[in-house]
Amino acid sequence: MYLHQRPSKFSAPLAPEEGSVSAFYLERVEEENEEDVCSDQAPDVEEERNDLGDPAILSVIQNTQVPRQRGLHGSPGAKALGTLGMSQASLRFLCKTEKASPGRWRTVEGRKHGLHSCLEGFAKHWVKSLRGKGSLPSHLTQLHPQHQRILLQQRSQTMSLAKKPWSLKPDTYANLMTRKEKDWVIKVQMVQLQSENPHLDDYYYQEYYQKLEKTQADKELLGNRNRAESLKLVTPHIQKAEGYESVVRIEGSLGQVAVSTCFSPRRAIDAVSHGTQEQDTGAASSQRLRVLSLIEKMFLQLLEIEEGQNDGFPQLYHTGEQRNQVEKLFQALKTQGQDNLEETADSLLQVLSVRKGKILVARLLPFLPHDQAVSLLLYITYHLPLLILRDMADQALHILFKPLGKYIRYLTFHQLLHGLQGLMLLPPGTSERPVSVFGISLLYALLSHGEQLVSLDSSLQASSDCAAWTDLVILVTWEISQLPTASLAEPLAFPRNLLPLFCHHMDKQLMQQLEARM
């Protein structure tokens, strides 16, 4: 009919595979019955409009936007159709054929909204079907929506001003590459993509796809239509060759054949140097290197632990596994260098002297059970002056403050005292007390805790520990007042019960000095 009589009006770069565009349109119309493309009921029209978030549709529609008031340039429908390269009669024809099949097509003529909304629906249908069938080149579907819109606009423009009649002369050399061959290439490419841990290897795609699915699920809840699901790249699960024998003996042959696959190319002649044994060139540097490599290994374990937590797996399964890992890591921290007893105590100190070691401990603390965390806290408090000294270059101790701070309240009074006494000792070889933000903050936090314990538990006040406590507080306040103001840095957290504590033990003059400084 009309469609067939006017092939020149159709320029369809979009579907060169199909014989003729008209056939394409017809095919679409006949097949897709379930799509509610055209309706003239007001609520459905609204529905259509809401769904017109689709920018591709918008682009086509925008081209056809003609103010309804002006009737001078013909009905909006006609203009719109012109853009699509069809005539009114053609569209009417399409609508009529659809009417024959069960669906909600109505006659479109004569309705004010009808033709336009029918067109919108049709355009949407058209683009969607193009996308679904892949007639829209896939590189288009993956573009930014704005970009898509522009391209589709251009296309629709060229369709309306078709310069040449659409004639790609039948390509006699087409399909030299058969479908089988194409599938083979794709299979090879897919095999290269498969991985055991896609969340690690292909992080960005996985995250993006999850986000996409989430928004679609949300849209599905809000909107009523079931949008076409976007495709996901699914790699075929092909078993990788497990083992690899570099040398293969073929039965009945003399000698051996060297074998290489694309996953395991021929092994190079053993270029691995067995390495000179570690010479004692500078025990200090090798010691440092050992500490650094130890930190790296522990960090990898820590990352595994953290990842196990982030994955959101059912907790029941993982806590056992996780606890094992954490325990192992803690032991590694505490007891390294078992051959030399002297080193055992120092290893944690050495780890903490390195910036990365501090970060490691800070990140491990949330995973540790309370008693182990407390022991770490005590250790750090006891060795604080030395740590501060070694931290002068890095200035990284403050990282530890927050995680440690959480465990201060688990300290018993006795432990606290012991720790603080160590804290007040001067490190060997120095005459001045090293001061740092971390040190001050930790000190304040510990003192605050001590004060809390003392005020709450009256039995403590009578014990011998209390005398030691009072001495300690006096010493601390005296030291603070002695320090030049400049080096008295702002603590990371200032507990509220400190001033009364100092009040309690000090005389007025000292108090005034202290108040000025804090």
């Binding site: 892949g134 896939s138 290439v185």
Partner: protein, 137 residues
């Protein structure tokens, strides 16, 4: 059929006209007939296009098998827009002549710059001149 969503694949480009830029600077235009996993390309009805200034010339070359590692980039040619170009097509002989001229000009320029450099002078180039100006103000 969308074989590999979210990836770049040459499968969909088969039997379409492409422009291929090679590592040695040549520009080939032909129909992509076949590929493999290394992106080796089989180009059909290929022409080599030489550009000199605003002119270009086509040398028909036939069938090409290009090793994948030598391809810098390739892109599909829109058949409708192909003729929409401001460039002027000339004959092969002329374009080859033009190219030779261009080469000699460039070499002369290079020698000049080198000579000046040896003498400790430098001709301000458009890109460096601006920055010098900006620095002085």
């Amino acid at each position: 059929m969308n074989y590999m969503p979210w990836t770049a694949s040459l499968i969909e480009d088969i039997d379409k006209k492409h422009l291929v830029l090679l590592r040695d600077g040549r520009t080939l235009i032909g129909f992509l007939r076949s590929i493999d996993q290394f992106a080796n390309l089989v180009l059909h009805q290929t022409i080599e296009r030489i550009h000199v200034g605003k002119k270009y010339g086509n040398i028909p070359r036939g069938i090409f098998l290009v090793r994948g590692e030598n391809v810098v980039l390739l892109g599909e040619i829109d058949l409708e827009k192909e003729s929409d170009t401001a460039l002027q097509q000339v004959s092969i002989e002329e374009i080859l002549e033009q190219r030779v001229e261009q080469q000699t000009r460039l070499e002369a320029e290079k020698l000049k710059v080198q000579d000046l450099k040896d003498r400790g002078l430098s001709i301000p180039r458009a890109d460096t001149h601006m920055t010098r100006q900006r620095l002085s103000t």
